[in-house]
């Protein structure tokens, strides 16, 4: 853990002051900061080899294409997939929309999500069910903020089970291997929302036997606007395209078109070239540290954060006990709205998130309108958390007046 402490200096944004105080950035579940190497990869692309990918017969085009292809390969290796199984999208939300539209859901199907989903893994399925007449079902959560595995409403008509790997509100790490086994017993497709897990831990799509995995580049040191959908080769080949047009065809006649091979079939139009290349640079950076090291570091910080939060009076903490969680801790201070907490913390230089976390059904279950969420990444330190706790005490003092 000690060797990781020096990494803050790799992130230029973290050295600044906000409101006259040293910035303590604890909103990494929303988006992570970017190391200089990732920023450099973007300026390098635009200052040295900006060009459209694929059909260019010139030096710059060749270089851009090679780098873009290499990004697919880096991301593939990162999750133990093969290159053609990596589709670049804008973000997790778009990845799931792609799936919901391409899977040919019909009236006889049911789709299962959980009560702890981010809107990105709920609303697309809700919509496709409305359009097709399919039924949307939920795996309930128990009091500890874990999935109740005894109440999975799966049957032979289940087409898709789509589950967050790590909850963006509760921090719960869901039992993906166990779920995968059960889902496949019913011949359903297993989709994982990895937005909050892929940045923090080694996610091996083969070991966990996921059919599809969606995640966002910007939560794992990459830029915004680049996301990933992984899909098993044989499944992607059968899937219908989502967006159609340039770049995704093999042949076009006046009245009919044929689709390109995967992944191009799903990457219509000029892609986010610099985003993909920068995501490749982000993956390099993460692998250079080692994902197991990052996982351990973040879990240590989260467990320290839990321990320190529990020292405060009048606090509610949501989600499971230490050990079954990572990435973040959501909480509320009694009689103080999360927006007020976040506002006062901001004056102290501390950035956290406050609101419904794009998980309104879960807020209803928790019986709150909003929560505060502190989410460290590997570059945070225990001192950052100490500073957060000190500032939270100040919030309570202001409201005790």
């Amino acid at each position: 853990m000690k060797q990781l402490l020096d990494l803050k200096s790799d992130f230029p944004i973290l050295s600044q002051k906000v409101n006259g105080k040293q910035l303590i950035y604890l909103d990494n579940s929303a988006t992570s900061q970017k190391p200089q190497k990732v920023i450099d990869s973007i300026t390098e692309y635009y200052s040295k080899y900006n060009s459209n990918v694929h059909r260019a017969i010139h030096k710059l085009g060749e270089q851009a294409t090679l780098k873009y292809e290499e990004a697919h390969e880096k991301v593939a290796n990162f999750i133990n997939a093969s290159k053609e199984e990596i589709i670049f999208t804008r973000n997790t939300t778009e990845s799931i929309n792609l799936l919901s539209h391409s899977l040919q859901i019909s009236k006889k199907h049911n789709i299962i999500v959980t009560e702890m989903e981010h809107h990105s893994n709920l609303v697309p399925w809700q919509q496709i069910c409305k359009e097709t007449g399919a039924e949307l079902r939920f795996i309930p959560i128990d009091k500890d903020g874990k999935l109740n595995l005894k109440k999975i409403p799966i049957n032979n008509n289940t087409r898709v089970v789509s589950v967050a790997h790590v909850s963006n509100v509760l921090g719960t790490i869901n039992p993906i291997k166990e779920l995968s086994k059960m889902v496949h017993q019913y011949n359903a497709l297993f989709v994982v929302d990895g937005a909050q897990s892929v940045p923090h831990m080694k996610v091996d799509v083969k070991d966990l036997n996921m059919d599809f995995l969606a995640f966002s580049g910007h939560k794992m040191l990459g830029p915004t606007g680049i996301g990933v959908l992984y899909g098993k080769k044989e499944l992607l080949k059968k899937l219908h395209p989502f967006l159609t047009g340039g770049g995704m065809i093999s042949d076009v006649k006046k009245d009919v078109s044929e689709w390109a091979d995967i992944p191009n079939k799903f990457e219509a139009g000029t892609p986010n070239i610099e985003g993909a290349i920068a995501l490749g640079a982000a993956v390099d950076y993460l692998e250079n540290i080692d994902m197991d090291e990052i996982n351990k570091n973040v879990k240590d910080l989260v467990s320290y954060l839990m321990k320190r939060l529990l020292e405060l009076d009048n606090i509610s903490i949501y989600g499971p006990e230490n050990g079954d969680r990572t990435a973040l801790v959501s909480f509320n201070l009694l009689d103080i709205h999360p927006h007020d907490v976040a506002e006062i913390l901001d004056k102290e230089g501390v950035a956290i998130r406050a609101g419904h976390m794009c998980a309104k059904p879960l807020m209803d279950i928790l019986g709150v309108n909003a929560v505060c969420r502190a989410s460290p990444y590997f570059y945070n330190t225990k001192e950052d958390i100490d500073h957060l706790i000190k500032s939270l005490k100040k919030v309570q003092e202001v409201f005790a007046k």
């Binding site: 103080i336 927006h339 007020d340 506002e343 004056k347 609101g355 807020m363 909003a370 202001v398 409201f399």
Partner: protein
Amino acid sequence: MIDMYQEELLEHYKSPRNSGKIENPSVEFHDTNPLCGDEVTVTAKIKNNIVKNLKFESRGCAISVASASKLSEQIKGKTVNEVLKLDNQFVLDLVGVPISAMRLKCALLSLKAIQKAIIQYKEK
């Protein structure tokens, strides 16, 4: 140091004026701030186009609850047209503390709610 959370504002947050619901109101309107999940329900008694009584039932942050509280004191006795003419600046002056851009919606939620309620009333 923490300009926004002055004692007077916090006092309105802790003991909001005209809080709750009126029985048999002339109009009732529920509004939310989708960004943060703040909620407000306004109920009002309107007679001869004058807002005789109103109450806000707020579930929200200090800024949104305190602004509803302060606004409620101002609106009683005003005509419906006077209320519709109130602008954002009126509420910001009333709240009287610097409001950051991200919090404007919180401060203005109650004004929007009572104005929508009145529009609904007029359409009846």
